[in-house]
């Protein structure tokens, strides 16, 4: 457990891995670095070309140069002018935020209950929840659709959100992390007269804060890019999420690739900004959640 956090942390201290530092001088260092750097540039090329195309006029759109001779923001004004993108962006943001809050709250609650309380049926509950990890979303979308249809949830925010308001993955992850919280802390709080919910909220939760943020990143990203279920459950363009809207928009534009690239850039830029701001936390969170999961 502590190993996981330690190795995720050591990932962040980054620059020098102990074993590279202590070893003999590495004869291939220059070659290694050059190839890695070239690989890294190739990796981001699709993103660079997308951004470059979004500020090009059609006449130089298909040239291989990255920096346009005459940069323009007309594509952005055009794409944003009909207001749909802002709407889709808002929908995606609202849905991903609400779903993340709900899932982190409940996953931590259930993970804690399964970890720190002793009661009959605990193991059964844990196995039952864990077993849902084996059920693919694709198997559930048809029943979810039928259910939404009979309850009138089609074409609503709730309809898009309800399948994700709790996750088995998060419950498992949180249970693992609550194992690291010493029972003495909880006992002390109990003696101080806090009730069990207060103990969970104000004693246990702060102790697993890094795990909570890792889980939040994962769930937010998952919802931000989710495609299949929002595509099925939404009908009117007003309720589309960004990925579904982008598909519709791109099909409409047909061959105007600079406009499609602008739409794609609009869907990508916010995550790029968030990544640049919180790079350390995001990479550490991914390493932590991945190693535990």
């Amino acid at each position: 457990m502590t190993d996981i956090r330690a190795s995720a942390d050591s990932l962040m201290k980054g620059q020098s891995s102990a074993r590279a530092a202590k070893g003999p001088r590495d004869p291939y260092a220059v070659l290694r670095w050059t190839l890695l750097a070239m690989g890294a540039i190739v990796m981001v090329m699709p993103i660079v070309y997308m951004l470059s195309a979004s500020i090009k006029y059609p006449f130089e759109m298909y040239d291989l140069n990255i920096i346009p001779k005459e940069p323009t923001f007309e594509n952005y004004t055009y794409v944003l002018s009909d207001g749909r993108f802002l709407r889709w962006f808002g929908n995606s943001f609202l849905i991903a935020t609400l779903t993340t809050i709900s899932a982190v709250f409940f996953d931590a609650l259930v993970g804690y209950a399964l970890c720190k309380f002793t009661f009959r049926g605990r193991t059964f509950m844990f196995i039952a929840i864990l077993s849902t990890l084996m059920i693919p979303t694709e198997m559930l979308v048809i029943p979810w659709y039928l259910m939404s249809k009979s309850f009138g949830w089609l074409d609503s925010y709730w309809g898009i959100m309800f399948p994700g308001i709790m996750t088995a993955f998060g419950t498992f992850l949180m249970k693992q992390f609550f194992e690291t919280v010493p029972d003495d802390f909880l006992e002390a709080a109990r003696i101080d007269g806090l009730n069990e919910f207060q103990i969970w909220w104000s004693v246990a939760l702060p102790l697993v804060a890094p795990a909570l943020s890792a889980l939040a990143i994962f769930i937010f990203l998952g919802n931000w890019t989710a495609f299949l279920w929002p595509l099925i459950v939404t009908n009117s363009q007003d309720l589309y999420t960004l990925p579904v809207g982008l598909t519709t928009f791109s099909v409409e534009q047909a061959v105007e690739w600079e406009l499609i690239m602008t739409g794609a850039a609009l869907a990508t830029i916010p995550t790029l900004i968030v990544f640049l701001l919180f790079q350390r936390y995001i990479i550490r969170g991914v390493a932590m959640a991945g190693l535990k999961g």
Binding site: A8, L11, Q15, S17, A18, R19, A20, A21, K22, W33, L36, A37, G39, A40, M43, V44, P46, Y49, M50, D63, L64, L109, A113, F117, I129, M134, I135, P136, E138, M139, L140, I142, P143, Y145, L146, M147, I165, M166, R190, W224, T225, F227, I232, V244, L246, T247, I260, M261, G263, A264, A267, T268, T271, F275, Q279, V286, A287, G290, L291, G293
Partner: protein, 298 residues
């Protein structure tokens, strides 16, 4: 309330536990278990959403067995898996292994490799679709043309389309796998390496005899994780072939796309449910095989 006050501390905890679990129990029953049960029931029925739901026994499964499109989708799904998982794991391990030994601009390089993981699959599907267009639009073919090489028909050829769609899927997943591999590499105690170095063991032997065996849990996790991802591929295929989903001639159609079309274009709910049950069975078998491998001691 007085009833609660008379309980022992242990009993109070049991009350709290079920209080914490009350809503989640409803959720897992209604949103996870009941729909699973419903999908299985539906796979033995025939229903087009409007008419009556009729029991048809194993007809849907028999129809699936005789459906050439299903076998094509089945084959394609495994092609995504068989090509995608090994290729992406080997590339990401090689990068992580070398990146772990690099000091100069380590953080920047790592961020660049990780960046594609954060992009939206739909947005990137359209970017790659643009790259794949013929001259004078597509970037790849323009590049080939500028070098005097013949054009490649990426998305309209039955043999090239599947690898062309797979490539962006591999590309987008690499960053995640690299980070996990690097964290796994960091978890190996340095004392092992020091001991090996004192014994004068070659780098190559260290890699095969120490690093890879100790990375086994990481490798198994990534194999399971990426296999499930490739078996469920949909977004890329759907967006890169919107004019003829799964085309040309169903050569790129994975099971999930077939399920989507059967359910939401043909509204053949029972038949689609039978397909989802088959997908479920495949995922279950693949995961169980891989978990068995994990259990075996090295």
């Amino acid at each position: 309330m007085s009833l609660y006050r008379n309980l022992s501390i242990r009993q109070k905890q049991v009350v709290w536990a079920w209080g914490f679990l009350a809503l989640p129990i409803v959720f897992y029953c209604v949103i996870r278990f009941y729909p699973t049960f419903n999908a299985i029931v539906l796979s033995f029925q025939s229903w087009n959403l409007l008419g009556p739901r009729e029991w048809v026994g194993l007809d849907n499964y028999a129809k699936l067995w005789d459906d050439p499109v299903f076998w094509k989708a089945f084959r394609n799904t495994f092609m995504y898996l068989i090509l995608g998982t090994p290729i992406s794991l080997v590339i990401s391990f090689v990068i992580a292994y070398h990146l772990d030994k690099t000091k100069l601009l380590h953080g920047t390089l790592r961020a660049l490799y990780f960046l594609p993981f954060l992009t939206s699959t739909v947005a990137m599907a359209w970017v790659w679709r643009w790259f794949y267009q013929p001259v004078p639009i597509g970037l790849f073919n323009n590049f080939l043309a500028s070098m005097g090489i013949a054009q490649i028909d990426f998305l309209n050829s039955t043999s090239n389309a599947l690898p062309s769609i797979l490539l962006p899927a591999i590309w987008a997943g690499l960053g995640f796998q690299i980070i996990i591999f690097m964290a796994g590499l960091r978890a190996i105690p340095t004392s092992y390496y020091e001991a090996a170095r004192i014994d004068g063991v070659s780098t190559w032997t260290i890699l095969w005899e120490i690093t890879l065996p100790l990375l086994k849990p990481t490798i198994v996790f990534l194999v399971v994780f990426s296999s499930i991802g490739f078996l469920r591929i949909f977004d890329q295929v759907f967006n890169m072939t919107t004019n003829n989903p799964g085309g040309p001639l169903d050569s790129t159609k994975p099971l999930v796309l077939m399920i989507y079309q059967t359910a939401f274009s043909s509204f053949d709910m029972g038949y689609a449910a039978a397909q989802t049950v088959v997908l479920f069975a495949i995922l279950l078998v693949v995961s169980l095989i891989q978990l068995r491998v994990l259990r075996e001691k090295p």
